[in-house]
Symmetry: D2
Subunit: 407 residues, 4 copies
């Protein structure tokens, strides 16, 4: 039995005992999410490159980027981009690798450009990476001259830092609804029916008692929206679709849906949320890595969160990324396995320089009815936790396959 | 009585009930703090400029910046910078203002340069803004063509967003110790005694029960450290000074102090934490706004936190900044006024478009012994909370005077 | 008769009397030409935009750009780009235009991106603007706050500076051969036959007496060149094609053709001129505006030249551009009209602030056999010169249509 | 006797036979000159660094830079900079050098920053490198992975290209006057008397027959010029000083001096040439390397010139730099030694891959009275030419000492 695992029973979670819940999700087209997604794809493509060429993932950390919004004029039925978005990606990576035959250079620039182009092309319909986005980067080698290998073959990587990963499960109905609302609105199916809806969709859920107020900020594609009445009809459609989703996902709650509440619906001089490209990054909204969703896709100020930006960190030994994902996997596995558990909180603290399967502490706090037999539950929780920690390196593999989304 | 104020009694805080506490402070020379500090100074100088020239603070939001580390070689008794730090500041600001006599331009570039130079010169001794730092910026007007005024004279500004500000008080002994340790090590007094100590000082506190482990990462100034034994003696001095501080601030705890634990003290090939300039930003450590300390100067994953980057946001109506500061002021005032309170948590939720002295909710949770008369306490708490909210615009004034530090 | 026109007879031109001629042409894929071409296209698209939206071409001057080469590894049958080319375009342009209804913004960013993409796509086959080139720009308004119009309708623009435009005609056989060699090698027809030949082709001609040595530096497309013998066969084909051209264009000269003379044809470790994209800008060769061909497409140090960079200058009143083109048109018209003329040199000096059809001086020096009647010739030359100057504003129209190439 | 040296007698120079001369000098504060000067200082400091650390000058070529002007408001008695100048320096240099003990990194960033700061501080009084200029750079290794040494010890470097260097001597009276005028106006002495005079001084000389019209564009320091009448008095002083110089240097010519002819001297709304910092680069005038003065400090479209940008090129084997300087030295030495010579033109053509003391051709054309004994002259010219070529590597040494100015 791993001596670093602590399983506690708690009666109720402090933060959710409140009558209030605030939950937010920044959609795939939000400037912060764009930053997260692109640097994480850079890390993934870089990792794949390292694996293929050197048999192991070399040191890198590309968890910084700033997006400076462009300028545009979006008008009913038209609009134009005046100045492109500027995206600067910053980080460290082994770019010159010593091999038996001398040195091998890593195509860092191509990897960055491909990652950025790929994300934009796969996730946007009206944002053209060639015309609307300038991608630049400053990725230099780390402080060591020629960065060594992470670890010898088959050994467990050593934690790069003392960091804590936290997570919880299950999502509350409000959290789930917020998450699924954005997923619905950015689904291919819905975009077929409502092509006017852009990709920059921010969903905020505020629950007080059993009332949930969903506030959706959704950029519209100006060229597809000929006039104000059309715009209003799109808002109506979106509202209906989300209401239908809420009926299904949160039947026990009164859910109110509000779309683009900042609109000024003045016939003569309407001020509505139109964009040429589908994202507010085209004009006025800057972005950064690590300022948006946590690893579970949500921002939940009433829940334990860390400030760690998982996106862009290497998936081998950067515990800021790995333990965030690990904590989430443990929490999810526990509630899946043990339906009696109401909520579980997981915190994992690394020990710098120690193997990542040997955290300092893995703390699991379980909220469960008094009536349930704690001892049985506890040992199952312990087993799941230990098993997930033991297999922590599988996270790396899953990341390489693109199976792990951290935003 | 304000109907948005809720005062609750709680028995104990979920997160601090744990036997474990993790607390971190990134010092004034840390790459993330450099970003926070400079953009916040940009906002302050810009606000002052607007006040002086237009009688009011105009729209701006400069809460994004990325620092790309330079390259250096730090060696005992010497060292050199190979490549300067690159700092890109990104944001929005009114740069062309319509006045009665036409247009007036805002010297945005000078303000940025001055803010950056000022912070570096006031806080570093060996980092030369002219030689070691390239400061660039992309600050454009917001999406509106000619940004209007925030509000008419004497009226209360309207919240720019739906955001939540959270805080708590008092600091736990661990939190206080972590905070004060950095403050001590970066004080002018200590720098006189131990000039070898650089400004990039990160302090992490890990408490288990009554044992606190303080881990300090402190960059040394290479030119002042002739050799390994000198280096070790500086570490010893630092350790002693912090131990003395701990005796004073946390007498009831067993405190262990560790300095630069990643050092490899190998006589022949030592690997220690030397820098030419006093900050790891010179080589290998990138930074960003909003990734470091919260408004109380600490990172506390076991306490409620938001992801809001207060730094760089305008101090007039950006509730992400103002409510973070306001929550902290309320919490501090409550525990100062009512010594019986063990801990107080404050959460304030804004209402977009509504006056900032009318939040949606101000939730105050008080942890207090059962023996204390709750009703008396409650009404005092209520009064303090209401008074602070009513005077929220004083935060703007204090910010202009430089009295509010948000990092 | 225009009092600023001077027609002189000269016996022979100093520079061509030499036994030596040196002539160079940097092809359309050369880093300097890329800069020239893109900024000139920016000026053209900007001019068209101004015309369409404001009925006149507004102030601009985009005659600066620097291309920082990327990094690549080109190998037989393959190769890869490691880092993209970075192109920074710098200049001045009216970006905010005061109209009757307020202000209108100019989509300067879109114009820059389109111009760059267009040039690359039309002129390269293997250089992908999305993957291989980062285009950035710093184009700000001029020093005047809101730049006024150049001139009232139908009036003649005023010269923006005191500049001199020089040209000559006809091209000597060497000059013509150098020019046509690059045009042949970058023609669609030849690229069909020899797709391996890249677009970065530099031709240098050195004539001593009746011997011309043509030295061609031609980037090859690495993916299409499987091995050294294939490479050598391409060089042979290129040589033959150019020899055939020389037979036609310079039958009276002994022409030797050398291709990629810096190659090291070592079977084991050959060092040859391979590129992934067709241009040396991919790795190692930087570029700038105004450092390549003059307006006649050539660099001719033994002929009068100015340092004016015509590319990117506005086509309305920037005499550095207009008079360079005008001098060339006059020289060409003269030799076309009067076959007896051996060489004509034209120099036109503007007068700042005066209408561009009123230069200070237009000096025409004619080299002609003694036997020819000078008076007849002279008056024809005078007439042609005056007519061209009188119609100088037609150059603007031709530029807008894309009929004038200045590189 | 070197077989590549050709000495010819010419009767008169084609270009100066004209009644017209146009000569220009861009002063040390002109945007183009700033670019030239800083990259040449980068090359010099880099060369010194290489010498000191590796015993030889390694490969580099930093002959590209673009200066994007800032923004400012200059007003009588005051003024302010709104946006700093942005200077991007681009080039190639060996930054990672293989030595016996592994690799040594070159502090390329520090060298760039120091060179820029140094030039600005030594040549400007009101331009503050810390506040008014953002210096950035993209200097990467060349296309070879680890750039080798130029040459073995004590051997002669091999020409890196086929280039031609041209020069002439002596300067004509107009040329000399233009050059000396700028030198006077930017001298410490004159700046003491006329501190209002900025550093950005452009002098254009136009001679027709024996009349010289000197047009001077001189930026004034706005803070030192309280009003229009003061401004006019400074212009008067400058005019007088230059007239006095002209009396001395060009006594046989009628010289007219015009200062800031574009001024609009309207009492109410004067438009005059004021700057905050002394250079037009602060607002509106961009710059580039290689677009200003040739190696002799002048732009002379009526004389043979090359487009070679000498500034920033390595002083070892880059014949574009070395032969430009060499041609000038030969021409100067010849006219100094042989007073009978009226004008001498020197052209030197390199041979790529051959030792730089073995040019393909060194062509010297001498204009001398028929009465002089040509044979004696010719052999002296030949001797001087051969001697200078034989000692060509001394140019490298002189460059390192800062004795050679190429702008």
């Amino acid at each position: 039995m791993a001596d670093f695992v602590y399983i506690n029973k708690i009666n109720e979670a402090f933060l959710t005992k409140n009558d209030i819940e605030i939950v937010e999700r920044k959609g795939i087209g939000h400037p912060d999410t764009i930053c997260d997604a692109i640097v994480d794809e850079v890390s993934r493509q870089l990792s794949l490159y390292y694996m293929e060429n050197f048999g192991q993932i070399l040191h890198h950390n590309v968890d910084k980027a700033t997006l400076a919004a462009g300028a545009s004029e979006a008008t009913f039925g038209g609009g134009r981009v005046l100045e492109p978005i500027y995206l600067l990606i910053v980080g460290r990576a082994a770019t010159l690798v010593k091999t038996e035959n001398g040195f091998k250079r890593v195509p860092i620039g191509s990897i960055v450009m491909n990652a950025a182009n790929r994300y934009i092309e796969e996730n946007f319909r009206y944002l053209d990476p060639k015309k609307h986005v300038v991608v630049d980067y400053k990725i230099r080698p780390g402080s060591a001259d020629l960065v060594g290998l992470f670890s010898k073959h088959n050994s467990i990587p050593l934690a790069n830092d003392t960091s804590v990963g936290v997570s919880f499960a299950p999502l509350s109905p409000t959290e789930n609804l917020v998450y699924q609302t954005e997923r619905l609105l950015n689904s291919r199916e819905l975009k077929k029916d409502v092509p006017e809806l852009g990709e920059d969709i921010k969903v905020m859920g505020l629950r007080r008692d059993n009332k949930i107020r969903l506030t959706i900020a959704a950029a519209m594609i100006s060229s597809l929206v000929p006039d104000l009445s059309h715009y209003l009809s799109v808002k109506e459609t979106v509202t209906e679709r989300v209401e239908k989703l809420a009926d299904k996902l949160a039947p026990d709650y009164e859910v109110e849906v509000f779309v683009n509440t900042a609109d000024i619906i003045d016939e003569k001089n309407p001020l509505v949320y139109l964009t040429v490209t589908g994202t507010s990054a085209e004009a006025g909204d800057d972005g950064q890595v690590g300022r948006g969703n946590r690893v579970n896709g949500l921002i939940t100020p009433y829940r334990p969160m860390t400030l760690e930006a998982a996106a862009g960190k290497n998936p081998v030994n950067h515990v800021g990324k790995i333990y965030s994902v690990l904590a989430r996997q443990i929490a999810n596995a526990i509630v899946k396995e043990i339906p009696e558990i109401k909520t579980v909180y997981v915190e994992i603290l690394s020990q710098i320089g120690k193997p990542i399967n040997k955290p300092q502490i893995a703390n699991v706090a379980v909220n469960i009815d008094e009536s349930v037999n704690w001892n049985t539950i506890k040992s199952t929780v312990q087993a799941i936790t230990e098993e997930k920690i033991a297999n922590v390196t599988k996270i790396t593999e899953a990341f390489l396959k693109g199976e792990i989304i951290v935003y």
